[in-house]
């Protein structure tokens, strides 16, 4: 019998970075997107099959926030890890992601996370420099380039996170 784990994962990122699109495209979704604007959170599940166990990532997609201060931190309570999403074409979203990470770290301590640089399909328009990404990787970050449109790197990103959490 394979062990099935559940893990709460929060999707964090600036406004319009494509979090919701990522989820919408690759995740079994049952709730309507209007939840985001009403309740401020939408919950989806991503099942990741590992070699010895199944991990159900319960994804809490929080409403996109530009103002970090307005982020409902209570939604992060109990999260096993989180996914930071930034738009590769807009460096400011990386800044938002970095500050979100600091905020989470301050409130909840170090948690496993993965940084997704979205809109990889628009790689030519990327304004985030590779050096910057390399620097983050050197700091021990898991950084993945993904594309909500093509699905590139998405499964890999969730798989990486699931593996970390299931350890």
């Amino acid at each position: 019998m394979t062990v099935t784990l559940q893990k709460k994962i929060c999707m964090l990122g600036g406004f319009s970075v494509g979090k919701t699109s990522l989820v919408k495209r690759f995740v079994a979704s049952v709730f309507s997107e209007s939840y985001l604007t009403t309740v401020g959170v939408k919950i989806d599940k991503k099942t990741v099959e590992l070699s010895d166990r199944t991990v159900n990532l319960i994804l809490w997609d929080l409403a996109g926030e530009d103002e970090i201060s307005s982020l409902r931190m209570t939604y992060l309570r109990g999260a096993a890890g989180y996914v930071l999403v930034a738009d590769g074409t807009r460096p400011s979203t990386l800044e938002v992601a970095l500050s979100l990470r600091r905020r989470v770290e301050a409130d909840f301590g170090p948690l496993p996370f993965v940084l997704l640089l979205n809109k990889n399909d628009l790689r030519k328009e990327w304004t985030i420099r590779d050096e910057e990404i390399d620097r983050l990787k050197q700091d021990g970050w898991w950084v993945r380039s993904t594309s909500a449109r093509t699905g590139e790197g998405v499964d890999d990103a969730f798989g990486t996170l699931a593996e970390q959490l299931a350890r």
Binding site: M1, V3, T4, L5, Q6, K7, K8, A28, V30, F31, Y35, V39, G40, V41, I43, D44, K45, N56, I58, W60, R72, T74, Y75, R77, G78, A79, A80
Partner: protein
Amino acid sequence: MSASAAAKLEWLAGPFSDDPGIDRKALAGLLVELARNLEPQFGSEPNGVRPIDPRLEQLRTLLVGPEIEMLSRLSEVIEDPEQLAVAVGRILPAAIAQVSNDGRLGDVLAPALEKATQSSIRSDPRTLLNILYPLIVPAIRKSIVETIDETFQSLNEALRHSLTWRGLRWRWEAWRTGTSFADVVLKHTLVYQVEHVFLIHHHTGLLISHVAAEDAAGQDPQLVSSMLVAIQDFVRDSFSGAEHQGLDTARLGELWLWSEPGPIATLVAVIRGNPPEGLHETLREVLSRIHDERRHALESFDGDSSGFADVDANLRKCVALGQRASEFAARRFPWFVALVGLILLAFAGAAGWWWWQDEQAWEHARQLTAAKQRIWDRYVAQLRAEPGVVITEAGQRDGKFVVAGLRDPLAVDPQLLLRQAEIDPSGVVSRWQLYEGLEPAFVLKRLQASLDLPPSVTLAVEGNHIVARGSAASTWIERARTAGRMLPAGGPSLDLSRLHDINEGAIGKLSEAIQSHEIHFNFNESLPAPGQDAILDQLAKELTELASLASSLHVTARVMLTGHSDDAGNGTFNLSLSAARAEAVRALLKKRGVDPDLLAVRGAGQFEPLEVASSEAARSANRRVSFKVAIEE
């Protein structure tokens, strides 16, 4: 360092202790062995071991001097409570943090903490109250609200159904089962089914366990549970005043969502229909049981929900909860048909009972009447047999017995007979006309009553005659003869022929003898003339005999002594002289032993002369006292 060095020197200079811990012989052997390694020719045996050897102590100091110094410092710390407290205090938090996962720490600390709490409460209860206040108040408030909700629910339903036909049926059911009307109303109106039960980990919002009813549809429970927690958080964050509470009830059409928060996990039930408020309590009990049984597993929950099979079983009990309308319809006993049947049976039974009672009463009355009639008939027959009673009418009228007829006054008293027959006189009307009966027995009775029968006479009925026997004075016989002649013709006659007249016997002869005597007097003398003592003696003898004879015959004898005078002189004087002469004779007779009561005296004066003549001889004969004997019964 100088202090410790000095201590070392002091230790060296001190008296050599006779340390029993050192086997000096073995040590000496060891030293010899060492020496032999250096110089094989060294003597093979230690030659003599001194009990105290300062060199050994020197050797010890050289070998373990620093350790000894350290040990002495440590023992100093351990033996001084102040220093020890400081030392332990430095590592205590770290030590506790180290073993915080060990359950034993809690077990060990619990009693001390309990005592501490108790003493804190004793010294100032407000401290603990202030700590608990934020927890207690919302809990109490919630409990009160739920109780009020429950009451209102019950009241509302009861009011809504109180006056309908169905309401009346439920009232009957309440009466039959001994429950309150409100409970019955709730039982019927609160049709519900628990469709889903989620046990959700508070902190992570992850699903620990989920059980759904067989036919219940629903989304992925893991997502639902997280969403539920998210919504709870949302409500809690969005509205002030709800920081410590969650969303406990939500309703969407027919669906209810009830949430019961626990310390670690929340129980959420999705209920279809109209659940009773009392279900909150049931859910809370299940939640509390789960917490009691699996607290440790819940605390360490990290997303692995395997191993919560027993929790599933608990939740399944919740899902089994429900109140189905169809169940009641199927189980319903046709109470109304039964009731109508029962009422009809009761009426029939009552009618039968009344009829039977009536019959019994009638029968009883009949028996009683018959018994009364028998007694009455017996009484009438007895009365009819009585002499002197003629019954002309006997029967019943207006519920009373009636008897009428003729009755001789000497006949038996009908009222007396009535009492003897034990008949209530108030139930009897009697009318009697008096008459004189001619039965010999009654004639006899009447004669007895009127004739003043002397004891020596008996009357008896012989055929159609009444015969008198015995003896009686002639006066009585004469009176009886008169009475006999007065008897009605055709009736019994009085036969006096068997009766002896006592005057004709010895007493008659004696009376004649007495009456033949006379006592004579001289002129104008009230004492008898001399020479009559013999006559007086004879008289006295006869009178005494008369008295005794009368007594033996049960008759009364009376002797009248009548004094007489001659016709010379005044008439009035002659009357008193004659009375005096009678008195004198009575005195003389009394003197001779005659009972004076036997003797009566009277003076007749000159009016009853023996001889009516004016000669001296006639006058002398008239001066006398005469005797007259009367025998009375």
